[in-house]
Symmetry: C2
Subunit: 399 residues, 2 copies
């Protein structure tokens, strides 16, 4: 996914700077900006303890304001910071609006990092100024790097497409490595496009894309206080704004889905401490809901994830997790296949070799397929292994 | 909880032997036996993928058979072993019944260990014979040691009480270290008593005791395929069998509750890789269900548990977990107190010292109190930290 430079859609600028929140000159603040007011839709964490910036974003999205700027800071989540946290959001919004000559309602701010500590406002305000000064068409990669926390690589991508004869562009950014679990939204994700799309269809396309990407990944099952996915469409490519579910909508929604899935997979691949990327396909389920909850139970199970880390041929934990997921399961109909290797088939004896399975589990990419043999529903979700790296990162996160 | 010897209730015998399932002469099979037919009640895992022995136990309990013997093997769970697994249960039952001159329906067998591997029946049958030969009134500690898997110490306890002028005894055994999460039953637990109690009240006392003990602990959130809690009452102490909820019932139920809580706490203290014992009290919740789900979300959160392991003063993760638990929460009313130290108070600034909190988190026993400030419901649950020891144990469990 890495590339030398990252195209931004027409009318968009970006920047990433070191504002002194993190040590060692690490970039820690970013700004995404559209020269034109952009129709903006999004999804915010369902955690009832929402960070002040997440609450602000939720309100702005609900009001339907056209957005032109999103300020992002890392290191500090501005969550559980009381009224002071809300005042700090407002102060950041005001400063960005002033410097960019925008109305305050066109500005969003997002934070990610430690919970329960007040924002260092002097640094933040100075950071906003630096971000504004550095805004450029070539600033995409800087922004991609500046939104990271425990991530080990930046996550971004783009798609180009033709909409009514016009060339449109869609560029996406994600950060997220721990506290990753779907619950109507995950992590911080910015999707920028110069396509014109009406609000209803923009919303629909985002929800469909998130449903098949960010809602199908888990790292640790913890739901963040700050997750937000934002899609900004400024219409600068000049297409006749998409207003029906015809070919143009399908092209746009398809590109968005692909991009979101790429970003979601990158988040899992970079899960905290992850050494393996694991896809779990649950097929033959009675219905969609069963397929999803069974797949997610496997993807979340600490016992499955530690066995994957250790390449321990302990496949029984996969069906044990399906068993407590709530999904209908009959052990005499279920099958388990890992890396193409059949290990369990409805309770009939399967001759499998520990060595061969250990070899499969030692690879960096692992596919697990569970067939419940009960129906036709099917889903695929993505997870990573659980390693001592996760313990190490999260046992000293604030220190 | 350790003591030089362990009294067994009148009429009970026990043994623990090395049957060659584990290496290095480690004890790996146990037998609990009552000379008199014992009224027996119990609870079995709610996992839909139940091990063959768990299914057999469920059926026997439902039929209301009086039980006289429980054979336990470790190292192999006899789960996901198809019809062969069921036949192996029957063969074990038959051999124990034959050697003990009991009807087969008076015998239960339990297994714990790796899932999906057939039992090594020659060793198991030889182990049954050894267990029968070693049965004795002094065999309690041997049995307590022989039911362990990844446990690092045996878990047992006893209570004596007066029932209608007769001295009664209640002795309990538990094993369990990983795959610990409440779901109507947990781990393997054997509760033996010479008290006489009618079936309805025996059942009631067990369900109440489990609800306040084994259902309030979690190690890793994985629900086992083999969990069983068994309570055998043979009436040998000679009391008039308890048939009403009077003083005798209250004495018996109280002793059972205490014993179960002791055993449950010991399971958490010995959680896989655990370095800390953590009690989480959730008070001021709108209702019982909210108190329980919020407390359990904190107890399960990998981010809370790794921070506890690392003594990282990252208390914000506690309320973040409450926030996604589904419980009603208002950040402007909630309070967080760890080790008696107030860290968060309804979003008002609290001056807390990282050093002091780090010191509290470095202790072996940690109490977390969350007050939601919304109502009067309250519960306490128990968990342990998540350390690299857990990863180490579970990354090489079968190897």
């Amino acid at each position: 996914m890495k590339q030398p430079s990252l195209p931004l859609p027409l009318g968009f600028l970006a920047s990433g700077v070191h504002a002194g929140l993190k040590g060692k000159d690490k970039p820690d603040m970013a700004l995404f900006c559209s020269r034109l007011p952009a129709l903006t839709v999004g999804m915010v964490t369902t955690n009832k303890v929402k960070a002040a910036p997440a609450k602000h974003t939720e309100k702005a999205l609900k009001a339907g304001f056209k957005i032109q700027a999103v300020v992002v800071n890392t290191k500090n989540a501005n969550a559980l910071t009381g009224r002071q946290g809300e005042r700090d959001v407002q102060a950041t919004v005001r400063e960005a609006a002033r410097l960019l000559s925008l109305p305050p309602q066109a500005v969003l701010v997002h934070s990610t990092g430690v919970i329960g500590v007040p924002l260092p406002m002097p640094k933040i305000l100075l950071g906003v100024r630096q971000c504004v000064l550095r805004l450029s068409r070539a600033g995409g990669l800087d922004a991609a790097n500046a939104i990271l926390t425990t991530d080990t690589f930046p996550k971004y991508g783009f798609r180009t497409l033709k909409l009514g004869g016009k060339k449109a562009c869609l560029t996406g950014f994600a950060k997220g490595s721990g506290m990753i679990h779907p619950n109507m939204a995950t992590m911080l994700v910015y999707l920028l496009t110069d396509a014109g799309v009406n609000r209803g269809l923009l919303n629909r396309a985002l929800r469909e894309a998130v449903g098949e990407s960010f809602h199908r990944i888990t790292v640790d099952g913890d739901v963040s206080t700050n997750d937000s996915v934002i899609l900004m469409a400024n219409g600068a490519c000049g297409n006749k704004p998409i207003a029906s579910r015809g070919a143009d909508y399908r092209a746009f929604a398809g590109a968005l889905k692909e991009l979101c899935l790429d970003l979601a997979k990158a988040v899992v691949r970079d899960g905290e401490g992850a050494t393996k990327f694991v896809s779990i396909t649950l097929q033959g389920a009675s219905d969609e809901a069963d397929a999803y909850r069974a797949a997610m139970a496997v993807a979340k199970s600490p016992l499955v994830k530690t066995a994957l880390f250790g390449a321990d041929p302990n496949w029984g934990r996969v069906l044990a997790a399906v068993g407590y997921s709530g999904a209908a399961v009959d052990e005499f109909k279920a099958k388990v296949v890992i890396g193409g290797y059949r290990l369990y088939d409805g309770g009939r004896e399967v001759a499998w070799s520990r060595d061969r399975l250990k070899k499969i589990l030692s690879q960096r990419d692992i596919s697990i397929v569970v067939d419940l043999g009960l129906g036709k529903a099917r889903t695929t979700v993505y997870t990573c292994d659980l390693s001592d790296g996760y313990i190490d990162i999260n046992g000293r996160y604030t220190t």
